[in-house]
Amino acid sequence: MTKTNLNCDIDSFLGKYYSFKDVHSPKPGYLALEGKISVLDKKGKLWGQFEILILINKVEYPYTIPIVIEKTQIIDRDWDYHISKEGVCCLDIPHKLLKSKKRGITFEEFYRNVIYPFFANYHYKESTGEYANGEYKHHFEGIAQFYQEEFDLENFEDIIALLETSIGGIKHQPNIECPLCGKPKYKKCCRKKVYSLKGYGMQQLKIDLVLFRQQLLKRKKVLG
């Protein structure tokens, strides 16, 4: 993605979503948008409204993830609602956000596909008792859940091997038995996962590797 002009993208957004305006940013180096988000379903029925503040890093854009703060305090500041005490919304698992960041975002798409659905999902949970597409568990358990769902891996040793291969840039012959999980051909097995992991960025992978190693160690200690 080529570097796009933040001002152009924001002008286009403000020319389409009339309840937002740019305001003085409380965070230096960030562009701030304040406005009202109205959650409407596919039949145009209104579910509720939130006042929100969106902060976008001016220098990093489009390679950045906007910070979204819910100002109305409609959402309880409880971790079950994936929001900090200050109202900062945890929009998605960091890995997916990092992938978007690496690719580059266009703000309007990010609003439509990430910010708006987050608030729609709050109402969905309030109405049905659960999030529409489930949720990630909190802290490390959520990371483990992510690896299980995205890569079909539950065993921490397999995950660690995968992370080490990806971080270390280790290359295996495509037609050998998979050195990570033991299935017949590496190219049809974990190679895709190794490549896919790179999309989340080396920094996150290293953090994950440390976490999985620590957790594995803990488990081993518990088992004696």
Binding site: K16, Y17, Y18, S19, S38, V39, L40, D41, K42, K43, G44, K45, L46, W47, G48, Q49, W79, D80, H82, I83, S84, K85, V88, C89, C90, L91, D92, I93, P94, R112, N113, V114, Y116, P117, F118, A120, N121, H123, Y124, S127, T128, Y131, A132, N133, G134, E135, Y136, H138, H139, G142
Partner: protein
Amino acid sequence: MNLFEDYKNVIKKAVENDPTKSNKIYGLSEPMLESNREYLKLLRNELPGRELSREMKLFAKGMGVKETFDYQPLGSHPDFTYLKATDLVEEHWIISGFIDVKKSTKLFNNFTKGTVRLITESIIRASIFAVNLCGGYVHRIQGDGLMVYFGGKNIEKLKAVEDALKSFSMISYFVKNDLKDFFEDNGIQDIHTRAGLDLGHSKQVDWFYSGIGESGEVTTCSLHTSLAPKMQSNAKNSGIVVGHNVTTQLRKDKYFEQRSKEIHDYEDGRKYYQYNFDWERYLVDNNLAVQNDMGVLVLTINTLPDPNRNSRDLYPIASKSKPYFNYD
């Protein structure tokens, strides 16, 4: 809230039951046409009349209007009826508006004239409702268009301007958001409204009786009444063009974009300009509409959750999100 739902439903049923499409090869027989006429006769009763629907009542209440408002009679502004059949002239400011549906003649290519009549009547009735809801007076119906006045002796000029803008915005919304896609799904492309609005100040408007005996009407003579239909013809698809006098009342530049060409040259060095009006932004700013994830407008008068909402309809949007918590 779908304010115009009842009008839309009648149009939908009329189109769906029109016999033209299914009998294109062999043509329409008289029994078919007769059956269609009978159907349309019954369907016409489903159009909201003097009795407002629940949604319309809610909307009226939210706008601070009586739920049982009376439709004003056509053609005679109540403040100037005394001029009827007299030689008197009164100077008084007024906002003149013209709005009609463009490309509606294409409807005749696809439907029986009975169906076209009901479609047109539904749009006209919805428009009359929107005009009356906002305190306007329908002066004349011209096919699928209206000539309208806003203002009078007991209303502030600014309030009348705001009412006129709201009313025309709502009509534009109805055709653009509720009908356009439906018509396109049924092979009718590019149906849209075009509207023009202008304000004439008291020194610029004469009210008088034009005509002879019963064959006449109380009307206005004003450059600004004459400019309004010219602005209408200059409007973009689904657009509203307003005169400079309207913009100076509202004093909010964000809604008005000056058009490059003036609408009138006084030939003394002065020019009178016309402006594209951003009616969608105006509806949202005035809490008459909210926007969905795609930025599409939905008319609403309050921000309370819709009692008829269903989580099934929220699922496609909500399921794009899968939240995670990692704060301490």
